[in-house]
């Protein structure tokens, strides 16, 4: 299969339809028989997936099917109950902790500090990643997500759409080669959606190829994907 082809694979039971792709060796995500349960409730199982540099994979499925859980597992924020997740970046397989240095994550369950301004948030998280942001850097990054002129405002005073935009500035802080986007255009207006579309396109065409996984049910966002994985909740 080629990355340009739109492929759809359905999961929920223990189906085994692995995505093959023209994988580049230095950046890839590979899931083998991944499943997760919360207590006794099984969310999904038997997910096999391989995404390589330059590809956009969309994950779709009904509410509660585990799309967000799958993204948290890929991000290393949650350990899968079964199966293995292998994230290769710069040619090396990374542990759950180490892989976080190579990914940007946008999700409804991600929140930045409301008691700090947008600029303070970016400076803080930049410092944690060893990035010193000058005033010009901050302006550039806020402009990139359409928040120019609002950097000094406390995040607590932001609208939900502005907070969503700021999450993109946070996710792109370290120029990560992997982007994990859960409901990427939630709360965004038309211009916000255009920004996200540009970010996804830029990620795809970046030097060396970026990799994006999007969890969504929006038809427009599903069109961004080179491949689609459908996750159905276990009965």
């Amino acid at each position: 299969m080629h990355a340009s082809e739109l492929e759809t694979t359905e999961y929920g039971g223990a189906s085994d339809n692995r995505m093959n792709s023209s994988a580049q060796p230095d950046l890839s995500i590979r899931l083998e028989q991944v499943g997760h349960r919360f207590g006794t409730r099984k969310v999904f199982s038997g997910i096999d997936l391989e995404v390589a540099a330059g590809q956009v994979c969309t994950v779709t499925g009904p509410n509660g099917s585990g799309k967000s859980t799958l993204l948290r597992i890929v991000a290393g924020l949650l350990a899968p109950s079964e199966g293995t997740v292998s994230v290769k970046a710069n040619g090396q397989v990374r542990s759950a902790d180490a892989r976080r240095d190579f990914l940007g994550y946008v999700s409804p369950d991600l929140t930045l500090y409301k008691e700090l301004s947008a600029a303070e948030n970016l400076q803080f998280f930049g410092r944690l990643r060893g990035i010193t942001l000058t005033r010009d850097d901050l302006i550039e990054r806020l402009t990139q997500v359409g928040l120019r002129g609002r950097g000094r405002d406390l995040v607590g005073t932001y609208s939900s759409g502005m907070r969503q935009r700021l999450k993109y500035a946070f996710a792109l802080l370290a120029n990560p080669p992997i982007l994990l986007l859960d409901e990427p255009t939630a709360n965004l207006d038309v211009s916000g959606i255009a920004i996200v579309e540009t970010i996804v396109a830029a990620q795809k065409s970046r030097a060396g190829g970026g990799l994006t996984i999007i969890a969504t049910n929006e038809p427009r966002e599903l069109e961004w994907g080179d491949m689609t994985v459908r996750v159905d909740a276990e009965a």
Binding site: L77, R100, D101, F125, R127, F170, A202, G208
Partner: protein, 261 residues
């Protein structure tokens, strides 16, 4: 629109840089919101007021020491007409009981707030578990020391508590502060992860707190021993400090399992 041509940097930031970044962020947020200081401060001063009212009738009464035991020195005391004595070791113990409750009322905020507002996800994506623990521990220690610095002189003025040997008193206060901050920090992390708040916090903290208070009472007794032997000071105050070091070491080793889901 900027395109992203650079790959993510593999430069690892040292844990102490992350620790101080988190500490600076927490202090900035605290100075802005004053949530922890208010919680600890209000609790402490309310307790001080109640304590002052409740113990207004308690006075230190003179005693005669004979064969290592204290005996009533006045007839009124002997006949039970005078209120029982409230000596300095008891006062110091009461001060620490007050600090314990204040710490458990306010210091949980640092972790519980991160969980409740979901900022924990951004933190987990950006820094190591060890740096989070150290940053939160230092923040709690600073808040506690500030409260101790303000409350202790007020308490001494209110109750007339003697400080005995100043050096030993200072050592006990600092060691106790380290112990209490360490205990409160790890219990707060456990309670936050268990999605619990006050009640669970107290229940989880009780076993550690009991050991801490026993060691503290032991060390507090040494403060008021005249010309206490150096060995006793090292044993009692060192025991308290060692418990703090033990809690910090165990917490640092185990925090990863608390922090990660």
């Amino acid at each position: 629109m900027t395109t992203f041509e650079n790959a993510a940097s593999e430069t690892r930031v040292s844990w102490w840089q992350q620790t101080f970044a988190l500490l600076a962020k927490d202090l900035k947020a605290e100075l802005r919101t004053k949530v922890a200081i208010s919680a600890v401060g209000v609790f402490t001063f309310a307790s001080l007021l109640l304590l002052g009212l409740a113990t207004a009738v308690l006075k230190e009464v003179p005693t005669i020491k004979l064969l290592g035991l204290s005996y009533p020195a006045t007839l009124d005391q002997l006949l039970g007409k005078q209120q029982p004595a409230w000596d300095s070791p008891s006062k110091l113990g009461m001060l620490w009981v007050l600090f314990c409750f204040a710490a458990f009322a306010g210091l949980a905020h640092s972790f519980v707030h991160e969980e409740e507002t979901n900022t924990v996800t951004a933190l987990r994506l950006s820094m190591s578990a060890g740096a989070v623990y150290t940053g939160k521990l230092l923040f709690n220690l600073i808040v506690l020391l500030v409260i101790m610095l303000v409350v202790t002189p007020v308490y001494i003025a209110m109750t007339g508590m003697k400080i005995g040997s100043p050096f030993v008193f200072l050592a006990v206060m600092l060691s106790g502060g380290v112990c209490l901050a360490a205990t409160a920090t790890i219990i707060a992390a456990l309670a936050a992860k268990a999605q619990g708040t006050g009640a669970l916090y107290g229940a989880l903290g009780l076993p550690l707190l009991l050991v801490f208070l026993l060691l503290l009472m032991n060390a507090a007794g040494t403060v008021y021993v005249e010309n206490a032997p150096t060995l006793r000071i090292v044993k009692d105050v060192g025991g308290l400090f060692s418990f703090g070091v033990l809690i910090i070491s165990m917490s640092a080793m185990l925090f990863h399992f608390v922090w990660e889901e």
